[in-house]
């Protein structure tokens, strides 16, 4: 499981998890779950299109993710945000379907793009993926204060000159970059699970944002490692494991939150009574 070509998978997956965990924290904070789901579908179209014209799929991924992010950001200001996101999402998928139909390979290609493939990243691609990852984290660090402010106290942020739609646009672009680097291994349809489940669980366990981010990354790493191992052993798609494990993370987080609030109620009742 740890031989030469698998090391690519482990390395890439770890980078994916770190970026997913960090970006995902803000996705959950800002309630951008739908956008985080829509943008990777743009990546799918991009990879298919790049495949068609013989360009490196990673380039197509990046370009189309970016287009999707910009499209959602700008159209979303004029129409209803959730409607626009839904339509952009399906339009991207339809384009992807078109591109794939034009190329000779169809079935296995769709599958690995949508659901992930352990060997999705070759050793030559690790460096660009790592670079994109560093870029994403760098962007998040740069935007950290703005993101926190506009997510938690939007009116105050507005008053202090942090324009909401600029921040939103920047954040969508960050999601696009994170997506572009993660799709090959985890798959377009499942990457956003990684950006939602672990971070949501992390937020259930702690209120402090720094701790939450670290916890989110830790949970994402565990999820991804188990997914890779599971996929290697059973040959089942990586995406299946990611989706299921993310749901488990979320479930555990929710369960903990419910238990904790129930305990608090019991304590307050007990102290009130005696």
């Amino acid at each position: 499981m740890f031989s030469g070509f698998m090391m690519n998978a482990w390395t890439t997956a770890s980078i994916v998890a770190v970026v997913g965990g960090v970006v995902g924290f803000f996705v959950v904070l800002r309630g951008s779950a739908f956008s985080a789901h829509a943008i990777p579908n743009g990546a799918f179209a991009g990879a298919a299109g790049a495949n068609l014209i013989g360009v490196n799929p990673l380039v197509g991924l990046a370009v189309f993710s970016l287009l999707a992010a910009l499209g959602i950001g700008s159209l979303g200001r004029r129409g209803r945000h959730d409607v626009v996101t839904a339509l952009a999402l399906v339009m991207m998928l339809a384009l992807g379907a078109l591109f794939l139909s034009r190329s000779s390979e169809y079935e296995p290609e769709i599958f690995s793009l949508l659901f992930g493939e352990i060997l999705g990243v070759s050793s030559t691609e690790i460096l660009p993926v790592a670079a994109l990852g560093v870029g994403c984290i760098g962007a998040v660090l740069l935007l950290y204060r703005r993101l926190m402010f506009s997510s938690v106290l939007p009116e105050v942020a507005e008053a202090r000159g942090i324009r909401a739609h600029v921040t939103e646009m920047c954040f969508l672009v960050v999601i696009a970059m994170a997506t572009a680097m993660t799709v090959p291994v985890v798959g377009a349809l499942l990457i956003f699970s990684l950006m939602i489940g672990p971070p949501a669980a992390a937020r259930s366990f702690t209120d402090r944002s720094h701790v939450a981010i670290l916890l989110s990354v830790a949970l994402a790493l565990v999820t991804v490692w188990v997914a890779i191992a599971g996929s290697y052993l059973t040959n089942w798609p990586v995406g299946f494991f990611v989706g299921s494990l993310s749901a488990c993370c979320y479930g555990v987080g929710r369960g903990w939150a419910v238990w904790r609030s129930a305990r608090a109620v019991r304590r307050s009742v007990a102290s009130a009574l005696g």
Partner: protein, 285 residues
Amino acid sequence: MQVALLLGGLVAGISSVVGVFTVLRGQSFGGHALTDVSTAGGSGALLIGMAPVAGFVVGGVVGAGVMEAIGVQRPRGRDLATGIVLGAATGLAALFLYLDSTTSATTGASQQILFGSIFVVASSTVPYVIVFGVVTLALICLVYRPLLLSSLSNDIARARGVPVRVVGALYMLALALSVGLSSLVTGTILSTALLIGPPAAALRVTRRMNRAIAVAVLVGVGATWLGVLLAYDSYYWGASQNGWPVSFFIVAVVFVAYLASGLPARWAGRKAERATPAQAENAAR
């Protein structure tokens, strides 16, 4: 070809009607998530040898039930829960599709489930589609007024004694059925387009509900027919005898329709600007 047009039109019409309420209730994400749960259902059905349409519908109903059950009050929490369900269901679908490809001889299972198989629908499924379609429409007719009220304003509906939870549950059932059916036509991933696009376009053009539903149905059915015709024609385009996917055309037409629906408002805005100087002149005289 006629079967494709008939089925497509029927399914598109139903999606548009149900979709009006989906858009009004701001549940675009939920509607989309249901389509992904349908994917799991359809691919699961294929695995155990049932017709995908049965799996689509069952998957949709189960998914709707789960989402109702874990429904969280705050919208943000609801989005997260929806996303998690979507992710888990998609992961399951991935597994089923993979097992499909290894166990049975069905090639193109992914393509069929995800992107639609309108041209290869078995004629034995047509009765099912019609029956389920009628049931869905009947459901909507049954709860039309309360549903409309609770979609526009939940609080007012509750204040007026509308059994909001029951109405909501019936609506979710109709949604699940509609999603299951349209998955047959455009595939699960893209049935969102028929659910959301035509209603959204219609609601941008008119505020009157009856008109909105009519416009939505027109746009939905029109887009589907146009898409089917274009797909049929695309076999003759270019050198390769390989048609373009029908789902692409349908989605593209819907998308263009939505963008176009924003134009009347802009024209009205510009007309108002141009009218003002003339009105000022009249007033000055």
